[in-house]
């Protein structure tokens, strides 16, 4: 009997759904289900009695979804996708301050390294606590943060990620973002929750996603409302699923299975 796996979360589940054929071929012993909701609907959804249910008052749905609720009971492993751990707020904390103990001075307000570290920790700890409150301590669960924005998002234009671009120019940015990730792991561990950080092979530099994981026709030459630097393609879904399978299931894909082509229906 095949092991049942659930991938659940925000619109970032779309990357996994579009990789579903590759995942099915690469992991024939796994029976993977996909359940995604738009971010706000996901945030308002209720998890009760082992069932995750979208609120009736928010009918919005991802294009590929045909369900409004899912029972967690049948699944042996559950990958939660899309928690952001207040990434933008954390980046802004770093961007809008000069850290007293760092040599760089830009004329911004000062913050001590002790305060910065504690503010980041407090912010992340609150997110971890919320996840724990919502889903409880479930050994089947693994939480994957939302992907970092694409590297191209630092260029001016539609979808420009100001904080990310600004942080790239700060001398202490990489060091403090590394601490941020360390804090995520520590606070999730403290909450008794399993976390899988974005795999290195999907990144461009430390805290951006490599541009080749972009979905088709979403770059800055597209109409502004189609530009998207945050949602990734099927190849990303495949790569991350492989990392999840290796880490949580001890499995690697069948040989000969390569990165999937872009599939059409995404979130």
């Amino acid at each position: 009997m095949r092991e049942k796996i659930l991938i659940i979360g925000t619109s970032h589940t779309g990357a996994f759904y579009t990789a579903r054929d590759a995942i099915a071929a690469g992991f024939p012993d796994l029976d993977v289900s996909y359940f995604g909701l738009p971010g706000r609907v996901y945030s308002s959804a209720i998890y009760e009695g082992g069932v995750f249910r979208a609120p009736e008052s928010m009918p919005r749905q991802l294009a590929w979804m045909d369900r409004r609720e899912i029972d967690f009971a049948p699944f042996s492993h559950i990958l939660h996708v899309g928690e952001r751990y207040a990434l933008n707020h954390v980046m802004r904390l770093m961007v809008f301050h000069d850290v007293l103990e760092e040599p760089e001075r830009t004329g911004r307000a000062f913050i001590s390294s002790a305060a910065l570290a504690d503010l980041i920790r407090g912010t992340v700890a609150r997110r971890a606590e919320r996840l724990l409150e919502r889903f409880g301590r479930d050994s089947r669960a693994c939480f994957l943060p939302a992907p970092y924005p694409l590297a191209r998002s630092t260029r001016l234009g539609a979808g420009h990620e100001y904080a990310l671009a600004a942080l790239g120019k700060r001398a202490h940015g990489a060091k403090w973002m590394a601490l941020y990730e360390q804090i995520i792991e520590e606070e999730m561990h403290k909450a008794g929750l399993n976390v899988l950080l974005q795999p290195r092979q999907t990144r461009a530099g430390q805290f951006m996603t490599a541009d080749h994981f972009a979905r088709a026709d979403t770059d800055q030459s597209a109409p502004p409302d189609k530009v998207d630097h945050r949602h990734m393609n099927a190849d990303y879904g495949w790569q991350v699923f492989c990392a999840f399978a290796q880490r949580c299931l001890g499995q690697t894909p069948e040989s000969g299975i390569t990165a999937p082509a872009q599939q059409l229906k995404t979130g």
């Binding site: 802004r92 103990e101 001590s112 002790a114 503010l119 407090g122 912010t123 609150r126």
Partner: protein, 350 residues
């Protein structure tokens, strides 16, 4: 021919105005001289009780000024630990009128406080706000760099403010003997070293407090000519007195001086008012119910009652409900866990 007391209103008589009235529903205690609306830009400062005022205003999304607190979903308790989100700028508790005046004079470049940096365990602390960095900083230069930016922010807050709410807390103070520089804590309490040759105790008199409030008003209005002041007196008794008197006697002296000074300022100037939270909390009709078991800290009920009086006077429609609205920090920490250096004296002795 009757007595002049025959025609007085019920609120003028103790029995009908206080003794027979629910202490949570006394009318006419606070009759504002000028309006304060949710859009009025309010600057807050003062002793630790003033944190309640700042928090209550922020919780109702009134336009309370905050020029230093980082934005974002950061837990209030963590922000407060570093002096953020307590007042309009990150100056910590300001217990005396002299300390507030001194801060403003320093920000304006008129003076430089003596002994501005204290040390503890090899770390460096801003003597004027030793609690802002609980673990101190790694160098004296860092303290001074941070202070220079802080002082600019203090001026920015004043220039933005339409109403300055200031809670007077103490008359007792430790100061630098030669220069007269005052400090929010005694040297050696949180940091620094107490040298009786350098530092001395002083208990401000009513004329001194009055003079300081006058000088404070002058400087505030030089920065913001249309600024109004709303003075309050903290109902929190002294944790300890450094006089040779009983702490009960010293508390009465301190509060009487501060109340007198605030009253005189309010009587003299149209743009200065007095908000009687002290009277509401200490009202004998309350039978001490607005104090916690230590008979010192004010209960949440007491704070709510005081702030209800404020909101009912200034925005009666908005004060229909007593409970605070969602506050910007999405606070879920201990609601009454104020940062109060004075209380640390007690903790240090326990």
């Amino acid at each position: 021919m009757g007595s002049p007391y025959d025609t007085l209103s019920a609120s003028a008589l103790w029995r009908s105005g206080v003794a027979e009235v629910d202490p949570l529903a006394i009318d006419g205690v606070y009759l504002p001289k000028f309006p304060v609306t949710p859009d009025t830009k309010i600057m807050t400062a003062g002793s630790c009780f003033a944190q309640h005022v700042h928090r209550a205003l922020a919780a109702r999304n009134w336009a309370v000024i905050d020029v230093e607190t980082p934005q974002g979903p950061i837990p209030r308790a963590v922000l407060n630990r570093y002096g953020y989100g307590l007042y309009s700028a990150r100056y910590g508790n300001i217990y005396t009128a002299r300390q507030m005046l001194q801060l403003l004079r320093e920000a304006l470049g008129e003076i430089r406080p003596a002994e501005p940096i204290w040390t503890r365990d090899g770390r460096y602390f801003d003597a004027q706000r030793p609690n802002a960095e609980p673990l101190g900083l790694e160098s004296a230069e860092h303290v001074m760099e941070a202070r220079s930016v802080h002082l600019r922010r203090v001026l920015r807050a004043v220039k933005r403010a339409e109403v300055f709410v200031f809670t007077l807390g103490l008359t007792e103070v430790w100061r630098h003997k030669e220069s007269g520089t005052v400090y929010p804590t005694a040297p050696g309490t949180l940091a620094g070293h107490f040298d009786p040759e350098v530092y001395g105790f002083h208990n401000f008199t009513l004329p001194e407090v009055r003079k300081d409030l006058e000088a404070l008003r002058t400087r505030l209005k030089a920065l913001r000519p249309d600024l109004k002041m709303l003075l309050t007196v903290s109902p929190v008794p002294l944790t300890a007195t450094a006089t040779d008197k009983h702490v009960l006697v010293s508390t009465s002296y301190s509060k009487a001086v501060l109340r007198g000074a605030a009253g005189e300022m309010a009587a003299k100037y149209e743009d200065v008012d007095y908000f009687p939270s002290f009277e509401l909390i200490t009202n004998p009709a309350a039978g001490g119910r607005f104090y916690k078991n230590n008979l010192r800290s004010v209960t949440e009920e007491g704070v709510t009652a005081a702030m209800r009086m404020f909101f009912q006077a200034h925005a009666p429609d908005a004060s229909a409900t007593d409970g605070p609205t969602q506050d910007r920090f999405e606070d879920d920490a201990d609601e009454a866990d104020l940062i109060c250096e004075e209380a640390l004296i007690e903790a240090a002795r326990s």
